[in-house]
C-alpha cells in the first residue's frame, strides 16, 4: 500500500503539482513571516500580535478591494487595484505599527524581554476583540469567511493552468510571483538602503550601532512599523485564496506558521526565513497530498509542521541560518 502510494506520488504530474503548490505555500509563508523576522532580528521582540495584525490587514485589504476592485471590469484593472489595496493597507498598518511601538513597547525595553512577549500577547486579545466588535456593529458574522472580498478575484485566477503535463492553479503561480516580488523588495531594502544598513548593523550589535551615531530608537520605530505593515500586506494577499480568507481566527492561523518559519529559519535572519518558508511550504504541500490521498488523519499537515519546529529546535536550536547567541533571550 505504501509502495503503491509512493509510486503514485513520484509520477511527474503529481510531483510537479505538489511542488508548485509547495512553492505557492512557501510564498505565502514568507510574506506572513518576514515582518516578524525583521522585528525580532533588530529589536529582539517576538511579536505575538503579528497574526492579529495580519488579520486586521486581511479585513482592511478586503474592504479596500470591495470598495475599489469591484469598480474595475478588466483583468488588468482588477490586478492594478489589488496592488493599490496592498499599498493602502501597508501604509495604514505602518502608521498603526509606529503608534504601537512608540506608545506601548518603548517603555518596556529596559525590562526583561519576557515583558515584551507578554505585552504583544495582550495586544492580540485587544485587537481581536476590537475587530469582533467592529464586525458586530456592521453585522458581519465574526467567524465566517468574507466572501465579498473573495469575489473580487479576476476570472483567470479561478482557472486551472497547465504547464506541460503538470496541472496547477493560476492563483498558485500568482502567489509565487508575489512571493518572489516580496523577497526581492525586502532584500533590496536591506542591502541597498540606508535603513537597511542600520537594520543589519543593529541586528549584529545594537549597542555598537548606537555608539556609531545611529539613532537606534528611531530605527526601532521604523522597523516595527515596517514589520507591521508587512503583516498587513500579507493579510491582503491572503484574501484571494479560498483556503485563508478573512476571519478572526485567522490571527492564530497565521501566527503559528509564522512562528514555525522564523524559528526554523533562525530567529531574525531574513535569509533563514526565506529558506525555512521553502522547507515549511514544501512539507505542508507534501503532507496535504498524503492526507488527501492516503492518510485519514485530519490534522496531518498541521501536526507535521509542528514536528518540524520541535525537531529543528532539538537538532539545531539556532535554526537553519541562525547565529548562536543572537536573539538568545
Amino acid at each position: 500500500m505504501i509502495l503503491e502510494a509512493l509510486a503514485d506520488f513520484l509520477t511527474l504530474s503529481e510531483l510537479g503539482s505538489v511542488f508548485v503548490e509547495g512553492l505557492a505555500k512557501s510564498a505565502l509563508y514568507v510574506m506572513i513571516a518576514s515582518g516578524l523576522t525583521l522585528i525580532f532580528g533588530l529589536m529582539g521582540v517576538l511579536n505575538f500580535a503579528h497574526g492579529s495584525l495580519t488579520m486586521v490587514g486581511a479585513y482592511l485589504g478586503g474592504l479596500v478591494m470591495v470598495l475599489t476592485v469591484t469598480q474595475a471590469t478588466g483583468t488588468v484593472g482588477r490586478l492594478a487595484l489589488f496592488f493599490v489595496a496592498i499599498v493602502a493597507v501597508f501604509g495604514a498598518l505602518t502608521l498603526l505599527g509606529g503608534a504601537i511601538e512608540t506608545q506601548v513597547i518603548r517603555p518596556l525595553y529596559d525590562r526583561p524581554p519576557i515583558y515584551q512577549i507578554l505585552l504583544t500577547f495582550g495586544l492580540t486579545l485587544v485587537i481581536d476583540e476590537i475587530v469582533r466588535i467592529v464586525l458586530g456593529i456592521y453585522g458581519m458574522q465574526p467567524l465566517s469567511d468574507w466572501n465579498a472580498a473573495l469575489a473580487t478575484k479576476p476570472q483567470f485566477l479561478r482557472q486551472p493552468a497547465a504547464l506541460g503535463p503538470i496541472d496547477v492553479r493560476w492563483l498558485a503561480v500568482f502567489e509565487i510571483l508575489l512571493g518572489l516580488l516580496t523577497v526581492a523588495l525586502i532584500w533590496g531594502f536591506l542591502t541597498r538602503t540606508r535603513y537597511g544598513l542600520y537594520i543589519r548593523a543593529g541586528s549584529e550589535d545594537a549597542e555598537m550601532a548606537s555608539a556609531l551615531g545611529i539613532d537606534v530608537r528611531r530605527v526601532f520605530t521604523v522597523v516595527f512599523a515596517l514589520g507591521v505593515g508587512l503583516a498587513g500586506a500579507a493579510g491582503t494577499l491572503l484574501m484571494w485564496d479560498v483556503s485563508w480568507g478573512a476571519s478572526v481566527p485567522l490571527a492564530a492561523e497565521t501566527l503559528l506558521p509564522a512562528f514555525i518559519v522564523v524559528i526554523v529559519g533562525g530567529l531574525g535572519t531574513f535569509r533563514g526565513t526565506v529558506a525555512a518558508s521553502l522547507v515549511v511550504g514544501m512539507t505542508d504541500s507534501v503532507m496535504t497530498w498524503w492526507f488527501q490521498n492516503y492518510v485519514t488523519f485530519t490534522g496531518l499537515p498541521e501536526l507535521v509542521l509542528f514536528l518540524v519546529l520541535v525537531v529543528t529546535l532539538i537538532v539545531r536550536p539556532q535554526g537553519l541560518f541562525g547565529v548562536e547567541g543572537v536573539g538568545g533571550h
Partner: protein, 399 residues
C-alpha cells in the same frame, strides 16, 4: 457573606458585581492551573508556553478513566485515584517534554514547549480513541451518571460528589448547601492542599535553587547545582499540579474539548491570571483568575451573576435605549455590541495596563507596599522556620 449581600438593600448592585458560586469553582480549578504555570514560569523564569498540554492530559485522563477507556483502570476507579493518575501522566509528559526543552532557554524554550503542546493538541483533535468526535472532545458517558467524589477513597462518609447538577447536597447547621456550593468547597479543598504542597516546595532548599535559576542561572551552575535536573524536576512538579487542575476541571464540568483543554490560548489564560495576580507569587494567579472571571461575569449578558448589561438595561429604561446612535443602531444595541461577550477585550486591556504599569501584579504590589511583612507572616503561618526575617528585602522569601 454572599447571601447577606444578595439579600441586602444593595442586592441588585451586589448580584451585578459578585460572581456566582459556579464561576467561583472554575476560579478555583483554573487558578490551580495558573498557579502551576506560575510555579515553573514565575519562579524559574522559563516561560512554559505549552502548559495546556498537561492541563488537557489531566482533563482527558479523568474522563477516559470514567468511561473505562484506559487499560488497568476500570470505570469504577475512585475520582481521587484517577486524579492522581491524571497528575502522574502529566508528569510523564512533562518529563518527556522537559528532557529536550530544557536544553534551550528564553524565547526558544517558550517556542519548543508551544510546539510540543500544539503537536499534542492537533493529535488529540484528530484521535478517534478519545471520543467519537475528537474535535468536540470527550464527555463522561451515561455509564457514569453519578458525580465524581472528592474525599478519602474507600470511606463513604468522607466523600462528597461534585458537579453542577450531579453533586451532593449537604445540610449543615441548619443551612443547606446546593450541589454547586458543595463542589465549590470540595474542589477548593483539593486546590488548597495543592497550594500548600507547592508552597512547601518553594520554601524548601529546592525552591531556593529555583529562585537562584531565575535570578542568575550561570551563577547557580557555578555554585555547583545541576540546574538541568532542578529545572526538570520543577517542571515535572508543575506538570503534576497542572494535571490535577485539569482533572478537577473535567470532574466538575464532566466534559472537555481540545479548545478549552489543550489549545495554546488556554495557556494564555493562565498567563493572564499570573500577570494580573502577580508573576512569581504563588497565590497571585488565583487572585488574578478571580479578577479575570469577575470581569468576564460582570460583562456577561445574563446568568444569576447579573452583570453590567442587564443592570444598565434596567437602569436606563426603554426610551434611552431606543435612541439611534450609529446608523440603524440604537443606543441599546450599541451597549449590547460593546459589552456582550467581549470581556476578552477588557481583560486584554487590563492585562496590557498591568504589564505596563503594575509589573508585579496585584499580590506582588501589595507585598511590596507592605514591605515584605505579608510574606514573612505567611511564611511563619506555614511553619517555615525563618530565623531572621528578611526585613530589607521587599517580598521576602516569597518574591
Amino acid at each position: 457573606m454572599y447571601h447577606f449581600l444578595v439579600n441586602s438593600a444593595v442586592s441588585y448592585e451586589a448580584t451585578m458585581l459578585l460572581p456566582t458560586v459556579e464561576t467561583m469553582t472554575s476560579v478555583l480549578y483554573f487558578g490551580l492551573f495558573a498557579m502551576s504555570f506560575d510555579f515553573i514560569s514565575g519562579y524559574t523564569g522559563y516561560l512554559s508556553f505549552g502548559h495546556a498540554a498537561f492541563y488537557g492530559t489531566g482533563a482527558y485522563t479523568v474522563i477516559l478513566i470514567a468511561n473505562g477507556a484506559v487499560p488497568l483502570f476500570g470505570s469504577g476507579t475512585p475520582f481521587m485515584a484517577s486524579l492522581l493518575v491524571a497528575g502522574l501522566l502529566a508528569v510523564v509528559l512533562a518529563v518527556l517534554v522537559g528532557l529536550v526543552s530544557f536544553r534551550l532557554s528564553g524565547v526558544y524554550f517558550a517556542m519548543i514547549t508551544l510546539g510540543f503542546a500544539q503537536v499534542v493538541y492537533v493529535f488529540v483533535r484528530g484521535w478517534d480513541y478519545v471520543a467519537t468526535n475528537p474535535r468536540d472532545g470527550p464527555s463522561v458517558g451515561s455509564a457514569h451518571s453519578a458525580g465524581f467524589e472528592i474525599g478519602v477513597p474507600g470511606v463513604d462518609q468522607l466523600n462528597l460528589a461534585i458537579g453542577i447538577l450531579t453533586g451532593d447536597e449537604v445540610s449543615l447547621l441548619g443551612q443547606t448547601l446546593g450541589s454547586t456550593a458543595v463542589s465549590y468547597y470540595m474542589v477548593g479543598l483539593v486546590v488548597l492542599v495543592c497550594y500548600f504542597a507547592m508552597q512547601r516546595i518553594l520554601h524548601s532548599p529546592f525552591g531556593q535553587v529555583m529562585l537562584a535559576i531565575r535570578e542568575n542561572e550561570e551563577r547557580a551552575v557555578a555554585i555547583g547545582y545541576d540546574t538541568y535536573r532542578y529545572k526538570l524536576a520543577a517542571f515535572a512538579i508543575s506538570g503534576f499540579f497542572a494535571g490535577v487542575a485539569g482533572g478537577l476541571f473535567a470532574g466538575f464540568r464532566r466534559s472537555a474539548s481540545p479548545e478549552n483543554a489543550f489549545y495554546f490560548l488556554t495557556t494564555g489564560d493562565a498567563l493572564l491570571a499570573s500577570i494580573i495576580g502577580g508573576f512569581g507569587t504563588l497565590a497571585g494567579p488565583l487572585f488574578g483568575r478571580l479578577f479575570d472571571e469577575t470581569i468576564r461575569e460582570f460583562l456577561s449578558t445574563s446568568g444569576q451573576g447579573g452583570g453590567l448589561l442587564p443592570y444598565l438595561r434596567a437602569l436606563l429604561g426603554e426610551e434611552t435605549l431606543g435612541t439611534p446612535v450609529v446608523g440603524d443602531m440604537t443606543f441599546g444595541g450599541l451597549i449590547d455590541t460593546l459589552l456582550n461577550g467581549h470581556a476578552a477585550l477588557y481583560v486584554g486591556l487590563v492585562f496590557v495596563l498591568f504589564v505596563l504599569y503594575v509589573p508585579d501584579g496585584l499580590l506582588g504590589t501589595i507585598r511590596q507596599r507592605a514591605g515584605g511583612k505579608l510574606a514573612v507572616v505567611s511564611a511563619n503561618a506555614f511553619g517555615d522556620p525563618s530565623p531572621d526575617p528578611p526585613s530589607d528585602d521587599a517580598g521576602g522569601d516569597e518574591q
